[in-house]
Point group: C2
Chain length 235, copies 2
DNA sequence: CCAAAAGTGTTAGGAGTACACCCATGA
DNA sequence: TCATGGGTGTACTCCTAACACTTTTGG
């Protein structure tokens, strides 16, 4: 039963209220060692089968804006902050969590792996490849289904928007951009056509900087001209 | 403060709880008298400025599946049942409702106007054209913004799926289908190209029935071959 | 027989796709 | 000088878009 002061014993009593509890979960995508990966955290021991992973998530507080809750939960669960996100879906099946009725607002997010690794708290969070998530039962609740759905949405969005900039560093070579697309779509693209298409959209801006990392011919570095989401058929 | 028996005094006390209240709202689209319209209901007197309309909506109950809540709220607020819907977005800005923090899961739905008019409870619900919704301040809260967003999503979905079947009767003429597209997109399409394109997708199935309503040459009636959502570039 | 909507093909231009060689650099 | 990835153009095919007349019916 609810207490006289619900704010004080928040986590203890919310499960006993007469309305569903609102949670927020996020599928954080990055590209790491040539694979599309997501960030997972350990499940609370005792609540689900141990050894299972879950998506970073937490409970929304009263009066808290969704964006604020997102940042708070992201930071406390993974150590990350200020990453690109979009709302994906809200899931409300009552049986999802054994503790009570949880309705979960799910986001997906994109982050460059360099930025990710610089602030990810590896004592709590891990990187798992999409292949592993979808082929083995390592995710608790229905989180593997959510990841599958998020991956599909990501693919669609990559086809007709400039969101790929959020999974890359600010400056990148066209070969790297193409590699990102090939990893996410799971097949190769023709180099000349890919460049032609992408450059013709006007979404990219050529810098006067060269990539000096490789021991081959240095590649030109590009950046996206618009930081905002822009819609253009790409592939 | 919460009572000893929150279930009993449900609507009175939920505003005082420590977590946000979850609501469900729906933008119901139909085509009526050559215009794209939505269903609105009156706002509760005293809660907002009177004379304002709002989207049909209600509070989600604990343990209630989203689909069940949707059907319940739809029926009690409008008299409708069993209509096509998709989840649109979840909005959680704390200031939306003056009574407290409401997080609202918004759906959009499509229904043929004949079916709509057969069961819509006109004492509580009304039809308003999209033009009126967007050009005048007749919607309470942020509901006009939601409608605008829903209309955009509808347009996108019409471009590459077979959802238009849900705003039409089971059998319809190609001219009627084209008219629906012209109303929603706000411009004319070439008759021959439109038919060619639509028929080439294989989404339509020609029946042996003719439309005998008009005083002109009777048109063939078609139906969609798949009831499920099917994805194909259309326009 | 007239008015009104149904129904039907062709062509020209643009976009997409397939394809192979030279270039610049560091080791 | 060699290995490696960077960078470029063309031809063919397919899809898109523009366009006008004949057919069928009810009144």
């Amino acid at each position: 039963m609810p207490t006289e002061n619900p704010q004080k014993e928040f986590t203890k009593n919310i499960w006993e209220l007469s309305i569903p509890v609102l949670a927020l979960d996020v599928v954080i995508f990055t590209i790491y060692k040539g694979e599309l990966c997501i960030v997972t955290i350990n499940t609370t021991p005792g609540v689900t089968n141990d050894h299972l992973m879950r998506l970073p998530g937490g409970i929304l507080r009263s009066g808290e804006w969704l964006d604020v809750a997102f940042d708070r939960i992201l930071l406390t669960k993974t150590g990350l902050s200020n990453i690109y996100k979009e709302q994906l879906i809200t899931i409300g099946t009552p049986e999802r969590d054994s503790r009570g009725h949880v309705v979960s607002i799910v986001y997906y997010a994109l982050v460059d792996s360099q930025i990710l690794l610089a602030s990810l708290d590896l004592t709590r969070a891990h990187l798992v490849s999409i292949g592993d998530v979808l082929s083995s039962d390592i995710m608790a609740y229905d989180h593997a289904d959510i990841v599958k759905y998020a991956r599909q949405r990501l693919e669609w969005k990559m086809e007709y928007t400039n969101i790929s900039q959020n999974i890359l560093p600010a400056r990148f070579t066209l070969s790297r951009l193409q590699e990102v697309y090939e990893i996410i779509f799971g097949h190769a693209f023709d180099k000349r056509n890919f460049r032609k298409k992408f450059l013709s959209t006007g979404m990219l801006h050529e810098t006067d900087e060269l990539d000096r990392e490789s021991s081959n011919r240095p590649a030109k570095l590009y950046e996206f001209s618009d930081k905002e989401l822009k819609i253009t058929q790409l592939l």
